[in-house]
Each structure stands twice: as C-alpha cells, then as structure tokens.
C-alpha cells in the first residue's frame, strides 16, 4: 500500500495497522480485514472513532463492536447449520505473549477501507490521520463482516458516515482555531 505519500502521520498509521494486525491475530486470522481496522481505530488514544460511535449510540464502545463482529460470524455459521460451542483458542498457552513482527498485510476489505481513508486525508490534508477517517471509510463498505456487524449493533451506515464526517469537520475547525490563536 502506497499510503505514506498522502498520510504524513506515520506513528498513527503504524499504530492503526499494527493494532489491526493484533485484532486479526486475536481472532485467529492471518490478515486483518476492515473490521479489524475499525477495532484498531476505536482503540486509538485520540478518541475520535469512539466519539463518532457514541454520537449515534452512547452504549456502543470497542468491546461491543468486537462482540458484534463475533456474533455476526456465529450467526452466519448458524445459518448453514454449524454451531460453535465456544471460541476456539487462537493461541496455544504461552504463545500469546510472544512478540510478533508486523507484516503490514491486509485483506481486500481492509485495503478498500484504507484507500477510502487515503482519499479522505487527501481531500482535507489539514486533519491528520485519525480514527474518524477509518469510521467514515468503513461506513462506506456495503457488504462483508463490517456492515453486518454494524447492523447487529443497530447502527445505520449512512448515519455513521455523516457522524464521522461531522467529527472530521469539527477537528478541522479546531485545527483552524489553534492555528489562528
């Protein structure tokens, strides 16, 4: 992914991509998808992604989104007659603490979401990369795990995209105020 020409905030980019990889690994996946990017965005310390979600539903946080993703997979399996009694251990005991070097690979849904993030940053370069960019990007995905998990949470994709855009506009205005002060 040639992101760094547009996205200058490399520490946030790294936190985001490595966070998505960690979420994917915890779920037992080799490569992160858009849903793992969303989870990583919700965990960013700047807090714009959780603010966007809380604007739509104050009870929705990182843990509930993570649970909704798992519930989505379970419901999909149930639809073809497969019941998974409990979460399969993703790691053998003691392996979870091993440091894993980042690969910066991602599946097609994550790459599509990241293309949208890059477009958003390019359109308004004054707002450095933040979680709200990722929320706006994944809200644009019509099919796949992320929109299905959002539906389980009762979150409307268009309302989510609008809330994310409003947050980005707020951050842009705050940046302008800081610069003119």
């Amino acid at each position: 992914m040639k992101l760094t020409r547009t996205i200058k905030d490399i520490p946030t980019l790294r936190t985001l991509l490595e966070g998505a990889e960690a979420e994917a690994r915890d779920a037992g996946r080799a490569e992160p998808g858009a849903e793992h990017l969303l989870l990583a965005a919700l965990a960013l310390p700047e807090g714009s992604a959780p603010r966007v979600l809380a604007h739509l539903d104050p009870t929705v946080d990182l843990a509930r989104v993570r649970a909704a993703i798992a519930a989505q997979h379970a419901a999909a399996l149930e639809a073809v007659g497969i019941e998974v009694p409990g979460p399969l251990a993703a790691d053998a005991p003691g392996e979870a603490d091993l440091p894993v070097p980042p690969t910066y690979r991602a599946d097609a849904s994550a790459r599509e979401a990241f293309r949208a993030v890059t477009e958003l940053v390019r359109a308004k370069p004054r707002v450095p990369l933040c979680g709200a960019h990722v929320v706006a990007a994944v809200a644009g995905l019509e099919h796949g795990t992320t929109p299905r998990a959002l539906r389980i949470l009762g979150i409307d994709r268009e309302a989510l995209a609008a809330a994310a855009r409003a947050e980005l506009a707020r951050l842009a205005a705050a940046g302008r105020d800081r610069r003119s002060a």
Binding site: A27, G28, R29, A30, Q72, H73, A74, A75, A76, L77, A79, V80, G81, I82, V84, L88, A89, A90, D91, A92, E95, L98, V100, P101, H143, G144, T145, R148
Partner: protein
Amino acid sequence: MADVVEVPPPDDPATALAAVVALRQLAERLERAAVANALEQGWTWAQIGQALGVTAQAAHKRLARR
C-alpha cells in the same frame, strides 16, 4: 453421511457469503490451534505439513509464529 449441512436459501446470497467468510475464519482458528498443539506435542513441520497436505516449508511459512 447422515448429517447434511443445510444451505441458506439461494435468495439470500449475503448470508451464504457471510457463512463462507465465517467458515474460513473458523478453519484458520482451528488450524492455528491444531498446529500449536502439534508443535507442543513434538510434531515436526514436515509432519504437520504432511497432515495438512502442504509442504513443510508452506506450513512453516504460513503458520509459524515468528
């Protein structure tokens, strides 16, 4: 086989496709857990590869945690 997997109605491709994704995830998790267990029990990558139907190199590249 006595048990037949019930396939979702063909008019709901979104559910069927979501099930495929969830099955892949389940298979990946099962594979990782199984490989970790096998390694703990002293299996070699050659043995694991053979059991999975892939080469030792392919198994190690995809599944080794390092």
